[in-house]
């Protein structure tokens, strides 16, 4: 049992490597970077079914739906970049995680509702992302781990011209690299 687990741990990543190599050649290189990436297709040759058992890997707290880290969005009041009290525990959880995982990087996206002019909202979205960034840094995160960006009002989470859409759109989103 122990031996099988060890083999599986070695073999599974190896298989992914092979799969990864095999599929690389099939993905068209011409796809513009900004289009959604073409789905990687599995190669035709069947993967050998040598290993069946997989050891339970330790769950990354980022993948734990019960962790505070599963909450990746904090919300703001109209025309405000002041971090709300309900956002503080979320930001604190991410700060703790990032501070103890200095190799992990995030993008902080600032967003606004549709009201107000577009360029002003770029500035406001940036200010929201920056407000969260400052709190993360104050809680021990290195500034190199955080990339704040702003989409202004250009990427609404919810369409509509009403308060429920607006409040859903005034937000900052944590995006972890490779997730």
């Amino acid at each position: 049992m122990k031996i099988m687990t060890k083999i599986s741990l070695v073999l599974i990543p190896a298989m992914f490597l092979i799969v990864g190599c095999g599929s690389k050649g099939e993905v068209k290189e011409e796809t513009p970077a900004m289009e959604p990436a073409a789905e990687e297709t599995m190669p035709a040759e069947p993967v050998k079914e040598e290993v069946v058992e997989v050891a339970p890997e330790p769950v990354d707290p980022l993948d734990d739906p019960n962790s505070m880290l599963s909450q990746r969005i904090v919300y703001f009041d109209f025309d405000s970049s002041t971090v709300r009290e309900d956002a503080l525990p979320i930001i604190k959880a991410h700060a703790d995680y990032l501070a103890s995982n200095s190799g992990v990087n995030i993008t902080l996206e600032g967003h606004c509702d549709e009201r107000g002019t577009r360029e002003y909202n770029i500035a406001l979205g940036e200010r929201r992302a920056d407000a969260v960034r400052r709190l993360l840094i104050a809680n021990g995160v290195s500034s190199n781990q955080i990339r704040p960006i702003s989409y202004g009002e250009e990427r609404p989470a919810m369409l509509g011209h009403n308060e429920s859409a607006w409040s859903a759109n005034r937000r900052a989103e944590f995006t972890y690299a490779n997730r």
């Binding site: 513009p32 970077a33 900004m34 289009e35 959604p36 025309d79 970049s81 993008t107 996206e109 549709e114 009201r115 107000g116 002019t117 577009r118 360029e119 002003y120 770029i122 500035a123 406001l124 940036e126 200010r127 992302a129 920056d130 407000a131 960034r133 400052r134 990339r147 704040p148 960006i149 702003s150 989409y151 202004g152 250009e154 369409l159 509509g160 011209h161």
Partner: protein
Amino acid sequence: MIRNKQIVWVYIIFALTITKVYAAPLTIEITQGIENATPIAIVPFGIEGVAPPADLASIVSNDLERSGLFRPLPARDMLSKPKDVNNIKFQNWRLLDIEHLVVGTIRSTIDNRYEATFWITDVFKGQIPDKKYIVKGSKEGFRAIAHGVSDIIYKEITGVRGAFSTHLSYVTAKGVGKSRKYMLWTSDADNENALPIHTSFFPIMSPSWSPDGTKIAYSSLENNGSQLIIVQGVFDSTRITIGNSSLGLFGAPSWSPDGKQLAMHVIKDGNSEVYVINLATKKRRQLTRHWAIDTEPVWTPDGKSIIFTSDRGGRPQLYRMSAKGGRAERLTFEGKENSRAAISPDGKLVAMAHRGNGKFQIAVMELESRNLRVLTDGALDESPSFASNGSMIIYATTVGERGVLATVSVDGQFRQKLSSQDDVREPAWSPFNKK
């Protein structure tokens, strides 16, 4: 017969956009008219030689109608269609309450060009005018000849230069999610000859025409989350990029009246400040120094001042400062918010997105008296831009979930929507053609 003492005015039109013509994505619908628009009749022009590619008189009628100042008589209601100024029976037109009558001919010339010759008559005076106009242009630029005719009629009757030969620029968005595509367009003022000049998968904002009408500056979000300013040729493919993601976000560009500098915002560490960059030396200088958001700068036509949006007072309002820097003076006090200023060509009016009763609407304020007037009745009207003759403002509004463009006369009396299949926003009206 042309009388000897007749003065002849000759205009030669150069059509600048002779590239592939795309189907125009907009159609125009008048939503609020003016009761006392001047009744006018543009009689279908006589044709000599090769038939022209379009109906000149109907293009001219549509132009004049879109100005809100004229009510052109439909050709089917005309009792007669004289081609020559000497054949007009003025009493027939008086019966129809027509005040001005335009008659003329369009003639093809051997080099595949066209020449429109016409007269503008005052029906009540009933005299043959002593002025005759000739507008010449190419077959490809035939619509430009018609707009040239409209410009002359408008000037002759109102005393104000027509803006029918000018152009528009605007941004469309199409598709959802990551395949959402943004396109920057130029078109004629009547939105014919629409041409896409830039396409991106990231938002394009704030197109601004250079004072000579040959370039458009705009801001563009990029895939790495940065914002850059692009200065792009309208008639050629030149592109200059201003900005650098390590220096911050560069946006909200606006040309200085001499075309040598751009005012813009630079956002760094969450703080947006107004800068001016010299396009020749690439040197930039910081105008505002404040922790608040300072953005959307525009120059006054004399080049001396810059009006911008700032929330230093709590909510976004308009402020004015010297283009050399210094203290900023708050301009707007009416309404909860005022942003995105546009200044009339004569420098007397400031148009803005105004939030009074919870809705964003276009308002204009007289700089001298500080009188503010709300011109539109939408819920989310923004991005005003003046026509080069100061008569109208084009702006972005919404119909359902879609953005559309609309125009309103500066007195607020005449409004029309320019409807489209796509989501349209960020209009900018070009300056007059220099030619």
